[in-house]
């Protein structure tokens, strides 16, 4: 009897919750499931390994060990032209790239969400003003400006790089959130909240924001992948992180030397593969989330 009651309670709340929908979507899409588990483990492993590793030791120049081949002398992935351990550099570089991408995603995400909700909720003049500012930022040639700024700034490090990229990354999120907040903010439950005497701030961030969470998760996941790409791309071009700080981009940058490119594959190939795996994996996860957020595209 007890058992029966429990069953009844279970069936009563029939529409699946958000997490159940996402889980079902991942179960249907084995690739996304595999990517999600793989990426999570990979990132955790990289971050832990980077903490254990002695960075100074890794970056110490040992000219005698120049271009050591993989597997020789305890160099798992060989050494570069200065005799630095490629495996250690790969881990530290990946950690740097991922942390930078996460920081950019979080900062640009918070700015974009806050602005987008304010624009969508109030509409009118505020909306128009910020939309024109966004249009202005969108038309700027991002890469050129970042390169110019990087060259001009005298002291230049990780934090400066994060801020510069962030300045050009908040618009997409802001526009997306704005369009959704615009429709969500005209819904009855917002008016109902107002008739309860709820302040605008509470309505925006306690009422409307949770209702945008599905598109936000998708947007932030995909922009995380994009940000990894932007940082590595800039570093590859030599305008990202300074050479003293390894990142996936600086490692790939070694391939600009024809000798390295043609004969010393172990210097650049692992970093390139890691970028590929990261980007693909995050994108598969993001796409599965996107399908879960939109009932029409769902597989499960």
């Amino acid at each position: 009897m007890e058992q029966q009651n429990k069953e009844a309670v279970k069936f009563e709340s029939s529409p699946p919750t958000g997490i159940q929908v996402v889980l079902r979507e991942f179960k249907k899409d084995k690739l996304a499931m595999f990517s999600f588990i793989g990426i999570t483990l990979l990132i955790i492993a990289l971050l832990i390994a980077a903490m254990i590793l002695n960075q100074e030791e890794v970056l110490k120049i040992k000219l005698l060990e120049r271009y050591t081949e993989p597997g020789v002398n305890g160099y798992i992935l060989g050494a570069d032209e200065a005799g630095r351990d490629m495996f250690g550099q790969l881990i530290i570089g990946a950690k740097n790239s991922i942390l930078i991408a996460i920081s950019i995603t979080v900062i640009a995400g918070i700015a974009g969400i806050a602005l987008g909700i304010i624009m969508g909720y109030y509409g009118g003049f505020i909306d128009n003003l910020f939309m024109r500012i966004i249009d202005f930022f969108m038309t700027l040639p991002t890469l050129m400006i970042i390169i110019v700024v990087v060259t001009i700034i005298p002291k230049y490090g990780v934090i400066e790089l994060i801020l510069i990229i962030t300045i050009f990354q908040w618009m997409g999120t802001a526009r997306l959130v704005r369009s959704k907040a615009l429709s969500e903010g005209r819904r009855d439950y917002v008016s109902a909240s107002k008739t309860m005497g709820t302040s605008d701030f509470s309505i925006m961030f306690k009422g409307i924001l949770p209702n945008l969470s599905s598109i936000l998760i998708v947007d932030l996941t995909l922009s995380f992948a994009g940000n990894v790409g932007i940082e590595t791309g800039l570093s590859f071009l030599g305008f990202g992180l300074p050479p003293s700080t390894p990142s996936l981009g600086t490692l790939v940058n070694y391939a600009r030397n024809p000798l390295v490119l043609s004969e010393k594959w172990w210097v650049w190939l692992p970093a390139s593969l890691l970028i590929l795996i990261l980007m693909l994996g995050i994108n598969y996860v993001g796409q599965a989330l996107r399908r879960a957020a939109d009932a029409k595209q769902r597989l499960g």
């Binding site: 009118g124 009855d188 439950y189 109902a192 107002k194 008739t195 005497g197 302040s199 605008d200 009422g207």
Partner: protein, 337 residues
């Protein structure tokens, strides 16, 4: 018309919407009053300005696209002059609002308990535990049998009737002296409608609140209202106590509305309709009797040039003089009534 007992007094209220840089009045020169412990029904077709009137009272229109003139007096305060902050102190506490569609008026991602407690959070100094107790009490009051479970559920897990009960609980949370119900039964089926109306009535007798009930269902009006204001094209065209209105309707529009209630005793009976439709906001004739276009068989000269409300019996007001000569199409015009 206005006595000291009035809870809410609306004087010459005009709400205009901006369309292509021109203001068009959706509610025009409306004067009404609501007394304590009274149900004032506002009836009319869709597009007559009923809901606009209701949302104007609680200040839901933004200042960018709407212009509100006139007075809404409550406790010696003019609601149209209040700042957002002052209004927030009043809304949810003194004035409760019940929406038409309870599903869209509840936040889909907030538990029922939290949504009811929201008003308490802003208007009372209750502790978290006291608020929870009050939520259960409110849910009990609106006739929900297992408040403990419902408080933890989300809106999509409830049935339509239960959602509307929750909406009523929310409106009641601040112990309001005025409840505005904007077509509270439209989204519900007939049996639930009756339950909700009974609930509203019994709650009113408990709390002695004044209720403004907006509806286009004359059956609902007959059931619960004490006084009725009929609106057409933004104006009040007839106002009377409910008995008087059903027995002695005067204005052609009111009579046409009553005439178009389906009769069930004769299956060959044709459903009476009112010709044409409510003119849209931009094409509204601003002069003369607004209903004249839909009763073309009545001679133009019988309408007033500038129709005013005339008190024809104690508490019974009718706009325009055309009612004196009105007859339905096909009937013989009988001179003066």
């Amino acid at each position: 018309m206005n006595t000291a007992k009035d809870l809410l007094t609306i004087r010459n209220l005009t709400t205009s919407f901006r369309i292509k840089d021109e203001y068009h009045a959706a509610v025009e020169e409306v004067s009404l009053s609501l007394r304590k412990n009274e149900v004032l029904a506002i009836v009319g077709e869709s597009g007559c300005g009923k809901s606009t009137l209701a949302t104007t009272i609680v200040g839901l229109h933004n200042e960018i696209n709407t212009k509100v003139t006139g007075e809404i007096l409550y406790n010696n305060q003019n609601l149209t002059q209040l700042s957002e902050e002052q209004f927030n102190r009043l809304r949810g506490n003194d004035i409760g609002f019940i929406f038409q569609d309870p599903l869209s008026a509840l936040n889909p991602l907030m538990r029922i308990g939290e949504q009811i407690a929201e008003g308490l959070l802003y208007h009372t100094k209750l502790t978290k535990q006291q608020r929870e107790e009050r939520v259960l009490e409110l849910l009990n009051q609106v006739g929900i049998s297992n408040p403990n479970r419902v408080a933890r559920q989300f809106p999509h897990q409830l049935s339509g009737g239960m959602r509307q009960r929750v909406m009523i609980a929310i409106a009641l949370s601040g112990k309001p002296s005025i409840i505005i119900a904007d077509e509270p039964t439209t989204a519900l089926d007939v049996t639930i409608q009756a339950q909700i109306l009974d609930l509203l009535k019994s709650l009113q007798s408990e709390t002695e609140a004044g209720i403004i009930l907006i509806t286009h269902d004359l059956g609902v009006v007959a059931e619960v209202a004490d006084r009725v204001a009929v609106m057409y094209a933004g104006q009040v065209i007839e106002e009377a106590p409910v008995q008087e209105l059903f027995r002695n309707a005067k204005h052609p529009y009111t009579r046409s509305l009553l005439n178009s209630i389906p009769q069930t005793h004769d299956e060959n009976d044709k459903l009476e309709v009112i010709h044409g439709m409510v003119p849209s906001l931009m094409n509204l004739p601003r002069e003369g009797c607004r209903f004249s276009a839909r009763i073309p068989w009545i001679n133009e000269s019988l309408h007033e040039k500038k129709p005013q409300l005339h008190e024809i019996a104690p508490g019974h007001f009718v706009r325009c003089t055309c009612w004196k000569h009105f007859h339905f199409e096909g009937e013989e015009g009988g001179g003066t009534v």
